[in-house]
Amino acid sequence: MREIEASKITQEVARLCMEANFELEDDVQKALEKAHETEESPAGKEVLRQIIENSGIARSERMPMCQDTGLTVIFAEVGQDAHITGGGFEEAINEGVRRGYTEGYLRKSVLADPLRGGNTGDNTPAVIHTNIVPGDKLKLWVVPKGGGSENMSRIAMMKPADGIEGIKKFVVENVKAASGNPCPPIIVGIGIGGTFERCAQLAKKALLREVGSKHPDELYAALEKELLEMVNDLGVGPMGLGGRTTALAVHIEAAPRHIASFPVSMNLNCHAARHKYIEL
């Protein structure tokens, strides 16, 4: 049994909340730079230039790259031989969010009650997805998720007969309808299979993958490639102003499904695709 101090979790979550918002990950940065080189639309190219300049300013001045510093989503893999001591696991994470958002001058965007409102004042609670896995490590992904792209995300309980063609139609129609709203160039996370709630979670998890990486299964890798081309052929372009770069990547996560069900979900991420990872 390996012991992990709750205070260590708090400290790392606080740091990662700030870093995620100040420093764009290398994979996203590289994809944006490549898009800036290839983009044909002058307006789209100018948007990409501003985004790249913005990322440099955020990094050097330790300012959030986007004022919407998100609702903090945490994916956690807890080794079954790890023992968290000195406090509760979820409270340790929330305390980290509280500190990170306060110390980093990050925006507090969480309402305590969806109908009554009332800002919690510290961006808690985080949305925490925990899996228990073999081993004695604790793996954490800190994902500040903006509202603009989250609002353009969709789920459909399709018929098995809809098949791959149904998935393509669903993705292309919804990216077109989202237009400039989710701050393109976007990253498209797709969930296929599972139950209603598992499917939505798959799409979110798909956003954690390195931009430009390929699905290990050839069937899904080919579908990702085809969907990326279809989405970019929409011409939505950076910030919806028209252009050849609508998405930087399409990532699919799949799971077993019920024989009667064919759930498909699409979670969009904006170009300020923030995610940090740590292993404790």
Binding site: E40, S41, A43, G44, V47, Q50, I51, E53, N54, I57, A58, E61, M63, P64, M65, C66, Q67, D68, T69, Y105, L106, R107, K108, S109, G117, N119, G147, G148, N151, S179, G180, N181, C183, D233, L234, G235, V236, G237, M239, G240, L241, G242, G243, R244, C270, H271, A272
Partner: protein
């Protein structure tokens, strides 16, 4: 595509010359408001009460900035998505609002109100919030402090970079731009 420098408040002549796709640098005073503040403003109008900010010739920027760090006039301050303000915008346009800054397209009711009142909708680059904040030289909360990031702020801006997204004649950069690059 033309490039303009404009000083607030805007008049009908300023707005009429702007065509979808033009780039503009704004200087002067603009006001911030998003969902919650819009609801309060429109409720006040419905009750026939006075608003806490002037509308005549003014520009509203849809933004909820991040907290102001020490030594800066404002935190990061990029645009939020505009369609959420569509239910409220026509009432404000009918009271003299001349411009709005946000991101993403507006609905038909807003377009009609823009035509009717000779008003313009500008887009700023979403997610370029640290860059945009450099063109804001002062910020002051003027109403609804209880709303935090959503409070109404009076911003002093210099060469604030925007593009004309939808103009007062119905021109729309989203439709026109996307058609051009679709295959």
């Amino acid at each position: 595509m033309a490039d303009y420098s404009l000083t607030t408040p805007l008049g009908d002549d300023d707005v009429r010359k702007l065509k979808a796709g033009d780039t503009v640098r704004l200087t002067g005073t603009i006001y911030t408001a998003r969902d919650a503040a819009h609801k309060r403003l429109v409720d006040l109008l419905a009750e026939g009460k006075e608003l806490p900010i002037p509308l005549e010739g003014q520009i509203i920027y849809y933004v909820g900035p991040s907290p102001t760090p020490p030594g800066k006039p404002i935190g990061s301050a990029g645009p939020t998505t505009s369609y959420r303000m569509d239910p409220y915008a026509p009432a404000l346009l009918d009271k003299g609002l001349k411009g709005m800054i946000g991101k993403g397209a507006r609905n038909a009711a807003v377009v009609e109100a823009m035509k009717r009142n000779t008003a313009v909708y500008f887009a700023a680059t979403g997610g370029a919030a640290a860059l945009i904040s450099r063109s804001i030289t002062a910020a002051e909360i003027v109403a609804y402090e209880d709303l935090g990031a959503e409070a109404i702020r009076k911003l002093t801006v210099r060469d604030f970079p925007v593009i004309v997204a939808q103009d007062c004649a119905g021109g729309n950069v989203y439709d026109e731009g996307q058609k051009k690059y679709a295959r």
